[in-house]
């Protein structure tokens, strides 16, 4: 009996466990920077494709830019999320998470948050550059930056649901796109509309508030679905 109780005393607190997970995952990302750069390169490449397809006329590009930059950010987030849990699933780390005394809800939340820092946040940082390349009016840049900053959190957390549900499958990227893109509709609508409003010198605050509401909904509820998806695949393994 005494052994059991001392073992439970030595159990690290939940906050400490999440912090350690945060540090470990961040270290892994710093040691493999290409994982962070690939979605960025993808974003720049797609930005190159639009003028080639639509023509280089600055006025046309400026008109379409809010929607285009948002779609680029959305696809980059989606692509970056495909492999989110794959490696941890294959090497058994996820099974250990499940066995650990810490609540999966917070472990999952921490893991996805680190992933957002490495993908959504980085994409947010370069989005003004992409927007300027597409000739967006300068007054829309702050709204664009903020809307992608807030919106990408929802995008990554919703995308992680798809990544968790397909983690045990071999060719999952098309399937992930098919199940996740319809769920991105509200975020895209309000993100692009907010930037559009800012290009016309209108206030974008209400759009950002709705995006923030989506963000809180996604951050609080998505970990439940992610946990469910991971558990299915772990039980199968």
């Amino acid at each position: 009996m005494s052994d059991v109780s001392s073992a439970s005393l030595r159990r690290p607190s939940m906050a400490k466990a999440c912090w350690q997970l945060f540090l470990a995952e961040s270290k892994l990302l710093i040691r493999r920077p290409m994982d962070v750069f690939n979605p960025l390169l993808f974003g720049f490449l797609v930005t190159l494709m639009f003028p080639l397809g639509l023509g280089p006329d600055p006025a046309t590009l400026a008109k379409l830019a809010p929607g285009l930059v948002w779609i680029i950010a959305l696809l980059s987030c989606l692509l970056a999320t495909d492999q989110l849990f794959r490696e941890d699933f294959d090497d058994g780390s996820l099974a250990l998470w499940l066995l650990s005394p810490q609540p999966m809800y917070f472990l999952v939340m921490t893991r996805v948050f680190v992933h957002w820092l490495a993908s959504g946040f980085i994409i947010t940082l370069v989005s003004p550059i992409l927007a300027i390349m597409l000739n967006i009016p300068m007054q829309a840049i702050p709204a664009l930056f903020l809307s992608i900053l807030i919106g990408s959190v929802s995008l990554i957390f919703i995308g992680a649901i798809g990544a968790a549900l397909t983690v045990g499958l071999k060719n999952s990227s098309i399937l992930l796109t098919l199940i996740i893109l319809p769920l991105y509709v509200p975020v895209l609508i309000f993100g692009a509309a907010g930037v559009q409003a800012a290009t016309m010198d209108m206030a974008a605050g209400s759009y950002l508030a709705i995006l923030a509401a989506f963000m809180f909904l996604a951050v609080s509820l998505a970990p439940l679905a992610i946990y469910g998806g991971l558990k299915i695949n772990l039980d199968a393994g």
Binding site: I161, L165, T166, G168, L169, S172, L175, L178, I179, I180, L181, P182, L183, V185, P186, I189, F190, A193, F214, L217, L221, A225, G228, G229, I232, N233, A236
Partner: protein, 246 residues
């Protein structure tokens, strides 16, 4: 009360569901054939012509019922998903997969009939109207759930994944509908709007109600038939199925 609980408990067993449904199939087959022939004849031949749209409005006798079911099928699927994830009832998973297929088919019919109606009325096959767009998103959600349920080699895993995705969709669908409505209000152009629909004449409305009832019966019939086929497929190694085939 106890017998009611027992009834639902038994309904969870594929064997029992198969037996009970074999009595229900002919009932719903007769009901849907009867009501549908009545509704179609009344709607296509006897209902008066619309003074604005002429005969082209008659497609609502297929379009409206299928749109109804396209939406209500999702609620049923979400309910089954919750039942399956909580109680692990095998039958709930089988009917859930049937719902995804039939729901996708109904949404597709609603979209196609809408496009056919749009050509003479709006002058174009496709308009990015709020309801059309929401329906299209709903179609993709159904297809995503169906594709996910088929992606796993082990059927049980596919059903669980599909059930979770269906519940995620339940949270999302009202938000999607609301944002698409809002998006349409923001971008709405001056074109392509029918003048306000006057209250429907009862001579037109009655066949529509009959068709809605008929399509609901058809929907139940299709769910039963699809589920029965799925039961036979997934239980093919069980003794009772072997006895049945003999």
């Amino acid at each position: 009360m106890k017998s009611l609980v027992q009834f639902f408990f038994k309904l969870g067993s594929p064997n029992w569901f198969y037996k009970v449904s074999s009595y229900l199939v002919p009932v719903f087959a007769l009901l849907s054939i009867g009501l549908m022939s009545w509704g179609l004849v009344a709607g296509l031949l006897y209902a008066p012509m619309d003074f604005k749209q002429g005969n082209s409005y008659r497609i609502i006798y297929i379009h409206v019922p299928s749109s109804f079911i396209a939406l209500s099928c999702y609620y049923m699927m979400a309910l089954l998903a919750a039942v399956y994830l909580i109680w692990r009832t095998k039958m709930a998973a089988i009917v859930l997969r049937s719902c995804a297929v039939i729901g996708a088919a109904m949404t597709f019919i609603a979209l196609v009939t809408g496009a056919i109606w749009g050509k003479p009325t709006w002058g174009t096959w496709w308009v990015w109207d709020a309801r059309v767009t929401s329906m299209l998103v709903l179609f993709f959600i159904y297809m995503g759930i169906f594709a996910l349920s088929k992606a796993y080699e082990r059927e049980e895993l596919g059903s669980k994944a599909a059930a979770i995705l269906a519940l995620v969709g339940t949270v999302n669908i009202p938000i999607i509908y609301w944002s698409v409505d809002w998006w349409f209000a923001l971008h709405q152009g001056a074109t392509l709007k029918l003048t306000e629909k006057s209250a429907m004449d009862s001579a037109m409305l009655f066949p529509l109600l009959v068709m809605i009832a008929a399509t609901y019966c058809l929907y139940v019939l299709l769910i039963l038939l699809h589920s029965r086929a799925e039961i036979i497929r997934s239980e093919q190694r069980k003794q009772w199925v072997k006895d049945l085939v003999k």
